[in-house]
Structures are given as structure tokens and as C-alpha cells.
């Protein structure tokens, strides 16, 4: 009955979480592959944080189930040390030094790496003798990242941990995350609004909207299903016939449309010959289109594709 060793998968089965009258998650079914870096995307209030909370046994489902490594994480002595949720600045002991907090984490987390912690403390220029209550926003986030990476938990959920970090620090975080993921494989769930920055790190993508799963797909498959078409209005209109259109813009005689389409080789050349400019759709733009009001049908279409 124990969960397997190594990276832990995350599964939600008909998961519903309600706070009083507000429904944060509504009959959610999803599966995060073990050992992958999965992006958890969604607008504010979409239910991402609630999903993360339930996965890490911070709260219980109202109905339905969440399974980590095939087991219920709630009050699970064997499983919980292998599950880590870092929220914004991390849940640390404010009145103890960073060094003490790291010692505590090392005791609690079976795979904790002291070397990684030391290296990251240096990279983010954090003083081990400082206390969290005296740190700036960015430094608190950086420390949360140090804990998040060095703990090497088999299911690591990082919820908006980049807040307050400047761009160079964020890239240092992505580098550190990838490096250690390669060195010590684990399941990473990364929740971020900066989709453009994290897109290339992701193997799998889950998008939540209003407490429901909008789509859950392999990142590469998702990347090829969006096409941006620019050109003369008539040609663009001809191109989009029969395809799911996510968005349209027009300026004078030129139009631009974002569509869901997987093009055969010939089709692309034909389109170019007709004077159309084809381009990929960045995940961020795809996300904005899909989570716009009224886009639910498009998302379903995408999920079926």
C-alpha cells in the first residue's frame, strides 16, 4: 500500500473543494505524470492554489479524491515528507535564522541536499544568519526557492515562487531548477503567471479556469496546435474557414487571426504563396485567448485535438 519510490505522480478524481459557498475546484479530473515538469496555469482565482493545497494535505477535499503516488496524502506519515509545497515566500519559522530553517528542513526532508542549499544561498546572495522577518520580498522568495529546490521532494509544487524576484534572479531560479531536476529527477508542478518565461521548461501543461480543467496536454503537442496567420483580409478569412478561431484583429486591409490548426506540409506552403505569413503561437498568447470569456468551446476543441 505504500507509494512507489522515486518521483510521485499527482492525480485528482472528481475533486471538489468548497469554501463556504464559494467553489474553488469543481469536479476536477486530472493527472500529472510522475517525473515531469508540469506547468499549472490559470488566472487568479482559477483554483490553482487550492489544488496545490489539497495535494500537499494543507486541506481536505470537500468531495472526490486527490492521490499522490496513488495514495491519499492527508495525515500520511510516509508520504508527506516527500511532498513539498512552496507558497510564495515559503512557510518558515520567522524568528529563527535561515541557517536554522535549513537545518530543520534537512531533518524533515529525506532527500535534502546540503550542497545544493549552500550553492543556492550563495547564488541568491542570502545571508544564512539573517531571519526571514527581516528579509525583503524578493529575498523571501529566493529563500523559498532555495528550500524548494534543495529539499528534493519527490513531488515539488512551486506556487508563484518568483514574486519579488528581478529578471536575472528568475533566470537563476529556472537554471537552478533544471540543473537539479536533471541531477535528481522528481515531479515538479510549477505555477506561474510568467508563462512566456517558463514555457520552455515545461513538458506537460495543465490550465485551470474557474475551478475546472480547461486543458491538460503535452507541452509540445500544445505548441504545434496554435497558428498565427497574418495577411490580406480576404486571404486570412479564406484560411480560417472550418478552423477554430481564438482571436482576430484587423487594421485596414491587413488581418491577423489566431487559430487552432495542425497544418500539413503542403498547406503551409500554399498559405505562404497566397501571401499569408504563418507563425507559431506562444503559449502565453494561447493561454490568454483560451481563458478569455467565451473561449470554453475553443478549449474543449483543443483538448479533443
Amino acid at each position: 500500500m505504500t507509494a512507489p519510490a522515486g518521483p510521485l505522480g499527482l492525480e485528482a478524481r472528481d475533486l471538489t473543494v468548497r469554501y463556504g459557498r464559494k467553489t474553488a475546484l469543481d469536479a476536477v479530473d486530472l493527472s500529472v505524470p510522475a517525473g515531469s515538469i508540469t506547468g499549472l496555469l490559470g488566472r487568479n482565482g482559477s483554483g490553482k492554489t487550492t489544488l496545490a493545497s489539497v495535494a500537499a494535505a494543507f486541506r481536505r477535499p470537500t468531495s472526490g479524491a486527490v492521490l499522490v503516488g496513488g495514495e491519499d496524502p492527508w495525515e500520511n506519515d510516509d508520504l508527506l515528507p516527500r511532498v513539498l509545497l512552496v507558497r510564495e515566500s515559503g512557510d518558515v519559522i520567522d524568528t529563527e535564522t535561515l541557517r536554522s530553517n535549513l537545518r530543520f528542513a534537512e531533518d524533515c526532508r529525506p532527500a535534502f541536499s546540503r550542497e545544493v542549499a549552500e550553492r543556492l544561498m550563495d547564488r541568491f546572495e542570502l545571508d544564512p544568519g539573517a531571519k526571514p522577518q527581516k528579509l525583503s520580498r524578493g529575498q523571501k522568495s529566493a529563500f523559498g526557492i532555495v528550500l524548494g529546490v534543495a529539499a528534493r521532494a519527490d513531488l515539488t509544487i512551486l506556487d508563484e515562487v518568483h514574486l519579488g524576484l528581478d529578471a536575472p534572479s528568475r533566470y537563476a531560479f529556472y537554471d537552478a531548477l533544471l540543473e537539479d531536476y536533471v541531477a535528481h529527477p522528481r515531479t515538479i508542478v510549477l505555477s506561474s503567471h510568467l508563462i512566456g518565461e517558463v514555457e520552455r521548461l515545461l513538458e506537460h501543461v495543465v490550465v485551470l479556469d474557474h475551478g475546472r480543467v480547461l486543458l491538460a496536454q503535452d507541452a509540445d503537442a500544445l505548441r504545434v496546435t496554435g497558428v498565427s496567420v497574418t495577411g490580406p483580409v480576404r486571404e486570412v478569412e479564406r484560411f480560417v474557414v472550418g478552423r477554430t478561431v481564438l482571436g482576430r484583429q484587423r487594421l485596414g486591409g491587413t488581418a491577423q487571426a489566431t487559430v487552432l490548426a495542425t497544418l500539413a506540409d503542403g498547406e503551409a506552403a500554399d498559405a505562404r504563396a497566397a501571401g499569408l505569413d504563418l507563425g507559431p503561437v506562444p503559449l502565453q498568447d494561447l493561454f490568454v485567448h483560451l481563458t478569455a470569456d467565451g473561449a470554453a468551446d475553443a478549449a474543449r476543441e483543443l483538448g479533443r485535438a
Binding site: 515531469s36 540543473e179 536533471v182 520552455r200 509540445d220 506552403a269 505562404r272
Partner: protein, 99 residues
């Protein structure tokens, strides 16, 4: 460079990088020697150049012709410019180190 090194250097997901390399192996551009690493297949550079040639004409040259027409530039001017540019850079390459 191993696929994971490639992934961490260019900050992309290792699984994606692995897929890309696997694709190149399938296409016969690369081959893998177990325990040693990945190598460029013989004849691959020529093949890539041949494919590149087609793509170059379809995606770079044709649009140039279209663009020139849109701007009202006569095609002869474009050709003359191309010849002059090629002559100039060929001279530079002879003077400087070989590429």
C-alpha cells in the same frame, strides 16, 4: 554534449530536448553510439544542405521577390545588388581567415 547538458544550457525541458534529438536520429541526421555519444551521420550535412536549399528558395528568396515587387523595386536591381554583395564578401573572405 549530452541531451541533458543541451537542455540545461539552453534552458529547455530535458524531455523536449530528448525528443528533438530522437527526431534527428529518426531523420538520419544524427546517430547514437552507445556509451560514446551522438554523432552527425555521414552524408547528413549534404542532405541538410539540400533540404535547406529548398526551404531557402521557398521561404527566403520568393518572399524577397514579392517584397521587391510590393516596394516597386525592379528585379534587375535586386539581382545586381546580390552580385555586388557576393563579390565584395568573397573578396573579404580571401583577405581574412578562411571560415
Amino acid at each position: 554534449m549530452s541531451t541533458t547538458q543541451y537542455a540545461t544550457t539552453f534552458r529547455i525541458n530535458p524531455a523536449t530536448a530528448a525528443k528533438a534529438f530522437a527526431q534527428l536520429v529518426d531523420d538520419g541526421i544524427l546517430y547514437k553510439r552507445r556509451g560514446v555519444g551522438m554523432f552527425v551521420a555521414p552524408g547528413a550535412p549534404d542532405r541538410l544542405r539540400a533540404e535547406g536549399r529548398e526551404t531557402f528558395f521557398a521561404e527566403t528568396v520568393d518572399p524577397v521577390a514579392d517584397h521587391a515587387r510590393a516596394l516597386g523595386i525592379p528585379l534587375e536591381d535586386v539581382i545586381a545588388r546580390l552580385r555586388a554583395h557576393a563579390a565584395r564578401t568573397a573578396g573579404d573572405r580571401q583577405d581574412g581567415a578562411a571560415s
